[in-house]
Point group: none
Chain length 218, copies 4
DNA sequence: CATGAATGAGGTTTCATTCAT
DNA sequence: GATGAATGAAACCTCATTCAT
């Protein structure tokens, strides 16, 4: 089951290694600038300058400016959404300790926290630009609906059947879990990164909040 | 106490009535187009065309394109954040039934739900453009820190003292409440407005989720 | 002989008195701004603002922006060139003391010095804009050729016949006299007005320079 | 002593050779059009058209329209003012025949006459635009005060000490010499170029005028 | 492969002028 | 007469993209 994930992820990594140095510089520069001022307000000339290459060089590697954006955002989407269930640990937890919802959540939380911590600009670009590019939105929905949602749904049903969860429709539960987690991560890294965070404690509290929020009525 | 809110809000409304018809058309067109494609990708010529005015007319009313954006976003910020505590009802609830945290939350939820329902494009522009315009972000933080946070904090402390709330730091509680509510509203109106929502029920569930999530440990 | 001069000059003065207050404000503002930044870089809106009138008001009095320029420059041309020979004194000197070339020059010098002192911006506009507007150049040449040159020529011939002047062609003498005088006045009021000038002495020296420069070879 | 001049001048010439053909066309067109209608009334689109390049090409070489003006005027300023004393001949005259003021003047006169004859539009632009651009005026004053004035002053003092010159302050003498020469050159090439000039004779007369005008009182 | 000069469409903004009030 | 909102042509300038070197 996890094979196709890993296949996909491996593909991404290989892809990354096939980059020439110039290409890598271009991507790095583009990511920085796109994150800062947004795709539409970034100019290829500024990207070329920051990357230390000629403007023409960008277009040798990416047919258009939009191509460059897609090349940046698509892998992020996959890496941001897929691994939610891809890590051995997450699956292991679910397979081996099927009664421990809390550890399941905690695992996802830390996992994604680390991912955003190390890829903030990429995530920022992805979120910002989805709003303006229908294709990106559709791409994201596709990945979500085909890969994330069904797995999440399965897990929710399992716990609901075991009376470990409140009797809300699965989509509602998924929404609450996700907006709470994403809400924390965005507040932590994008909205108020300058605050003095005790990350461990705050994640603990957030998980507590979700767990109690979804506990079955008594 | 609510007087200064209402003063501010009234000011906004008066301001709105002083618009010439052309100015109103320009604003309407700009809001639509900014929400659709983002500020940076919108052209003043397109705005003028959709508004049915000459391009020059835009610049008679708004010195620059950015001015137009600010003129749109600033009032939204105030109207989006201030009234969280401005409605007579919210205050009344808190003043008269100081033990009913649920009704307090429910009130805010419905209140903001209605606001976004009726002002979706405006809210969308505000959120999208805050990412790219430092001034907007600062403006928002100012309103939030000066007007919203202290009131929220006061309420949280009240309920905590009465042992109605889990013993988390106030900022954590505020974050959880807000991201959960905003998470619902954004999912409802911006991310997946095409789904078939039972809004009443979903808000009820969301409030339930928050209430249980924040209930004191037993 | 002086009657047509005076007629013309009187016409100008009457013309000046027929101005409405608004018109006077417009002219004043236009003169200031034209002198500062040049006709082409001055905007009617700025003129209107400085004059304290509506933009439309300018066009009620002057059909076009260029009209406004012409209305300013034409009288200056006449007042700058004609009076060289118009003053009673100048003529008197020449008629009654036909052997005193120095006093004749001195009279012109002081006369024009005073005029520019009191009308610097106007003179500046005239000189600057002649370069860009063929019509102004032609206008100036017409006045010069028809009114100034013949009189000057007559005077030169008189003194040459009396052996009071070097035997240069009249046009050369006229050029030398004029560029020397204008050179002083422009240096004094436009190029280096900030210097500490002893005007009396400097005019004396300039006249001395011309007198000796034009003295017949011995 | 003359080395720094020549360095500067050589720099200018090298600078000129580094131009691409398109850049040269742009400069040529700009000079023509600026001279004709003035900087403010010239449009970059017209310059591009006359130069036979795309409008954008102008801005690849000159960041702004003003930049283009500066790039044209700055070298003219240097070439117009510096060489007054830079030519080997002028210096030679002064060093080797220190009693011949007339030859010294005559040399400058012919020298600058030839320069303006070959660079009329450039000189015209310089003079016209100094009036409207404070920076240009300051640039000119700097060159004049630092390079031209001191040398001129030195020469004047030399001849005054030898009783070859009238006892006027040096600045007055410099002004008279310069306005007379410039007066001739401008009349010749800019104000009345259409007249039938006998340049040799006229320069001779002008020098005569200056020499006699500045001869010591007897 | 890489460069960067050149392009030209399209962006924002200015401005003289008109006209209903 | 006076106003100032409205106009739209034209101004300056930016930028993604191409292509000869």
């Amino acid at each position: 089951m996890t094979k196709d994930f890993n296949d996909l992820l491996q593909l991404l990594e290989e892809d990354e290694q096939k980059k020439t140095p110039k290409q890598a510089q271009i991507l790095k520069a583009a990511v920085e600038i796109f994150a800062e001022k947004g795709y539409a307000s970034s100019s290829t000339s500024e990207i070329a300058a920051r990357a230390g290459v000629a403007e023409g060089t960008i277009f040798r590697h990416y047919k258009t400016k939009k191509d460059l954006l897609i090349s940046i955002v698509t892998p992020v989407m996959v890496k941001f959404t897929l691994p939610i269930f891809a890590s051995h640990f997450t699956n292991q937890v679910f397979e081996e300790h099927p009664d421990n919802f809390e550890e399941f959540l905690s695992n996802i939380m830390k996992n994604r926290y680390n991912f955003v911590k190390e890829n903030r600009p990429l995530v920022q670009i992805m979120l910002q630009e989805m709003a303006f590019h229908e294709e990106l939105k559709e791409q994201f929905q596709k990945v979500f609906i085909e890969e994330v949602y069904p797995r999440f749904d399965r897990v929710i049903h399992h716990y609901k059947k075991e009376d470990k969860l409140v009797d809300f429709p699965a989509p509602s539960i998924i929404r609450m879990v996700m907006t709470t987690m994403i809400g924390f991560i965005l507040t932590r890294f994008i909205i108020s990164p300058q605050l003095d965070w005790d990350d461990e404690k705050e994640m603990e509290r957030t998980i507590h909040f979700i767990m109690h929020g979804l506990s079955p009525k008594t």
